[in-house]
Amino acid sequence: MRLPPAILFDQSKDSPAPVPFSHATHVEHAKGRCLACHPEPYKMLHPLRRATHEEMDAGRSCGACHEGKTAFATTDGDRCDRCHGAEVRP
């Protein structure tokens, strides 16, 4: 399967390490349904600007699922490494 390659998000100055995003791992959770994330909240053809950590913590973008129940929370200050500096998978 020709999934889009891993996205490596830009690192802001107070970020501990860059954050990679893998389609492969997320598509499994979505049971192979691209519609789970596209075209809302994530546009496929014309991606929107990156969300900030505050916006994600408030439930936007990644935070819509990474809120602690559906998936691990973006607010977990002890486990930054789950995203920042995580292994880059395709």
């Binding site: 399967m1 020709r2 598509v27 691209c34 519609l35 596209h38 075209p39 496929m44 053809l45």
Partner: protein
């Protein structure tokens, strides 16, 4: 040279990325409905163990365009059959005429228009692939020159003759379509119309419409003949009445 799409049902995994990209590209409201509507221009159906896209087939000679009284639908030289909502008067002839049942109407609107896949005519004109082909993760939907896609389809069948159905759907259906399909199960099992005439359907309309001038001339001649006969009869009757009246006057004279 015109472009088209090749959809290989055996490659499709039913992820619906095409539906999502279509919604985004055309600014259509979510959700993706289970069947095509005026707001959902392409869906992926599960039939006979395969996933199959439903969408406009973009006929080489589209019946919808041939019946449209205002020219809202048109076949572009690039390949897509486009629709101009500003011209549409809402007569819905296209919906009745389409051999694939593609155009759908906005039944929920006060001033409705028709909705159907436009094969991303704007993207195609700009030299880009359609949104659906761009995002398809398995290459089940391929965009390219139709001639090249026909060659690809034939090559796939030739490579695996026992796997594929020996037919490229859309090569000749309704005179040929810009969208081509491959399958490993009979196309009728996928719910596709398989008994379509091999010649373009607008030919049927043309055969009737081209006789209209002859019919008008013939009917005009016939009606004029009837008019001439009745007028002549009236003239004769009037002449006879006049003659009889004169005769009686002459008789009445002493």
């Amino acid at each position: 040279m015109s472009v088209g799409l090749l959809f290989d049902a055996t490659h499709c995994i039913g992820c619906e990325a095409c539906s999502a990209a279509c919604k985004e590209q055309n600014g259509l409201p979510l959700p993706v409905e289970p069947a095509t509507t005026a707001y959902t221009w392409t869906v992926v159906e599960s039939r006979a163990g395969l996933h199959l896209r439903r969408m406009c087939m973009h006929c080489l000679e589209p019946t919808c365009a041939s019946v449209c009284p205002v020219g809202a639908l048109a076949k572009t030289p690039e390949g897509p059959v486009t629709y101009d909502a500003r011209k549409c008067i809402g007569c819905r002839y296209c919906i009745m005429a389409c051999p694939f049942g593609v155009p759908k109407y906005q039944w929920d609107r006060a001033v409705p228009v028709v909705g159907k896949c436009l094969m991303c005519a704007d993207r195609v004109r700009a030299g880009q692939a359609t949104a659906c082909a761009t995002v398809c993760p398995t290459g089940a939907t391929l965009f390219g020159e139709r001639d090249a896609l026909v060659a690809t389809a034939r090559a796939r069948i030739a490579e695996q003759p026992d796997f594929y159905v020996d037919h490229v759907y859309g090569l000749e259906e309704a005179g040929g379509t810009s969208v081509l399909m491959l399958s490993s199960v009979p196309f009728e099992d996928l719910g596709l119309a398989t008994r379509l005439p091999r010649q373009p359907l607008p030919l049927l309309t043309w055969e009737v419409l081209s006789k209209v001038p002859d019919f008008v001339a013939l009917a005009g001649g016939l009606l004029y003949g009837l008019f001439w006969i009745t007028k002549r009869r009236e003239e004769v009757a009037a002449f006879e009445r006049e003659r009889d009246e004169k005769g009686q006057e002459e008789k009445g004279m002493p």
